[in-house]
Symmetry: C2
Subunit: 329 residues, 2 copies
DNA sequence: GAAACGTGTGTAATCGATTCCACATACTCT
DNA sequence: AGAGTATGTGGAATCGATTACACACGTTTC
């Protein structure tokens, strides 16, 4: 490995001067600059990032913590983040919590020790230890998907999205509407979406049977099972529509309905949330809500870069959404 | 930030001893070890990775170069890689070439300068400058998806997979089979898959019309357009089956056929490659080939970790595949 | 009882950069 | 002419870890 010292010797200057040339600061004569650049090009020298980062406390790396790496949402968000930070010469250091809350905290500390310049967390829950870990890291920090107190957050408008969707279902004349959700340790998907649904149902004066509520774990299979449960526990009293909080679970639910020979949407209508690519190509195509994940990633990255300059903004940003009406309702 | 010096002072030992405790090497008395551990836990001290990496030349980071970050294939592979390397305490540094060949080279050099311990490249093409860059980096290196001479490569068996698929189509009685592919600068998807298809067609003594060949760019839309082109340029002489080299393009093609009121598979059968989640849930469900992307990622990571120990293995590994017959043929 | 070895600890050099400071010129302004 | 400023350069400290080496002590071994 060639180092700055080698370059200095070869160009007949001190390493101070080499550093000045490379970082474009301080006075350097034209001739010295040319000599240095020539040697740099000839040798293909690249400065050691470790040394640089040790000295400057900046690494040019952004840490990203994902709940699950191989999901459409995650990869769209990461794509958005990457688009922005790559332009500024940053890299992404990726970690995957596999939906394990402990790991979120562990990874924050780990990224910290790696001297990342900032962290973007696709949060799935809120708890004191997590907030503490963020506080301790004292790093530019963005939470995406959940509102974390004291942290700049970008959140999807889950509540209103759910209300809009539910209202749309009601306006189509449905009165018996079932719900497939996820656990309430997830404040956004688990709590807000449910709240939007239930409040809208109540506002419309509709009845809500306990047996029409079921819960999955984000997977297609769990959507299938939840739908099965609802159908099997309500013989002769099927709901006429099902509000499902994610596209994947909605698609699982559709599978079950199709297997049972039930027509969508004639017998039972169904909706999802997330605007996955799949939602467009299943039959019937799925009515869903687009959260603009990539744009959210872009926004997160931009806010983070801003924080790298100025001090903490610590605001909350509501990402907008769009209801996509298709053939499943 | 607490440093090793702070810990040393607080525990009343030299920083050498602290380092010994943390890295578990050399002799340390039980009492010293306990004192150090106590202080470490109290302070939540984490060693600076930059300093460590500067000294040891190892960073605990694996560089991954993707052609496109937000695709199902990429995220499955990364998921597999992550599963393996995370267990060994490695992180993933992610870069995205956005299908730009120049960036592959640029990123290899950049990852090198970041002292990554190894690189996994999801290659999309082969050229001398790329090989040169890999050589220069002198790093444990794995190529996934393309065979690179002199580099340990994991390749999908595109040729035989295509042959199997084509044979399966032929065995169903089809004689007029169209092809939707991608550009031939991609040796695996563009060349091998086409070769497998064409050779099988010829072996079976079938005719191959030039107008039954069409090319897209991996996107769903390009599949749609390619299908449209084939249908429009062959009025009254439609093929009865279409071999498409990726699921996404196949799904685009299906869209067009459905729009035209053509029945799949009765009027025209269709096949994809890739076993995307979507392929299972479109109607009719798509016959495709599963390349076990996640397993390929796992294998890549394992091979890389092996290379970190021993010296260059430099072998070629053929990943196996599985034909999934569904309702589109 | 001396040599050899095992155990425990600390000193100091080192990795490859950045940056403060000192110093040397050359030019401008009263 | 002398002070002040702009320009150019290098010496040396520094960031926070690892590790070769030296040393001290206790225990075996012949």
């Amino acid at each position: 490995m060639t180092t700055i010292n080698d370059i200095a010797k070869m160009a007949n200057v001190s390493r101070t001067t080499v550093s000045r040339v490379l970082n474009n600061n301080g006075y350097v004569s034209e001739s010295a600059r040319e000599r240095v650049m020539k040697v740099v090009e000839e040798t293909g020298y690249i400065p050691s990032v470790s040394a640089k980062s040790l000295r400057t406390k900046r690494s040019g790396v952004i840490g990203v913590i994902l709940p699950k790496i191989s999901t459409e949402t995650a990869s769209r968000v990461v794509g958005g983040i990457n688009e922005v930070v790559a332009k500024e010469g940053f890299q992404i250091l990726l970690t995957d919590t596999e939906l394990n809350h402990e790991k979120e905290i562990e990874y924050i500390r780990l990224l910290h020790s790696r001297h990342v310049d900032g962290i973007i967390l696709l949060a799935t829950n809120v708890n004191d230890r997590l907030l503490h870990a963020i506080e301790d890291a004292r790093l530019p920090f963005i939470s995406l998907g959940q509102e974390l107190p004291g942290v700049t957050s970008i959140v999807y408008d889950d509540y209103h999205a759910s209300k809009d969707m539910t209202n749309m279902i009601i306006n189509k004349g449905h009165k018996k509407i079932a719900y497939i959700g996820v656990g309430e340790d997830d404040p956004a998907v688990g709590v807000l979406r449910k709240q939007g649904f239930i409040e809208t149902i109540e506002e419309a004066g509709l009845k809500l049977e306990e047996s029409w509520l079921s819960y999955g774990d984000f997977s297609i299979e769990s959507g299938y099972e939840s739908m099965k449960q609802i159908i099997e526990t309500n013989p002769g009293n099927f709901p006429t529509a099902v509000f499902v909080v994610t596209d994947r679970m909605a698609i699982g639910a559709m599978e079950y309905l199709k297997e049972q020979g039930l027509q969508i949407p004639q017998d039972i209508a169904i909706t999802g949330i997330g605007a996955s690519v799949m939602s467009k190509y299943v039959s019937p195509s799925l009515t869903t809500i687009d959260y603009f994940n990539k744009e959210a990633g872009i926004m997160a990255a931009e806010l983070l870069l801003e924080q790298l300059q100025d001090q903490n903004t610590n605001k909350k940003f509501l990402q907008n959404y769009r209801l996509i009406e298709r053939d499943s309702v």
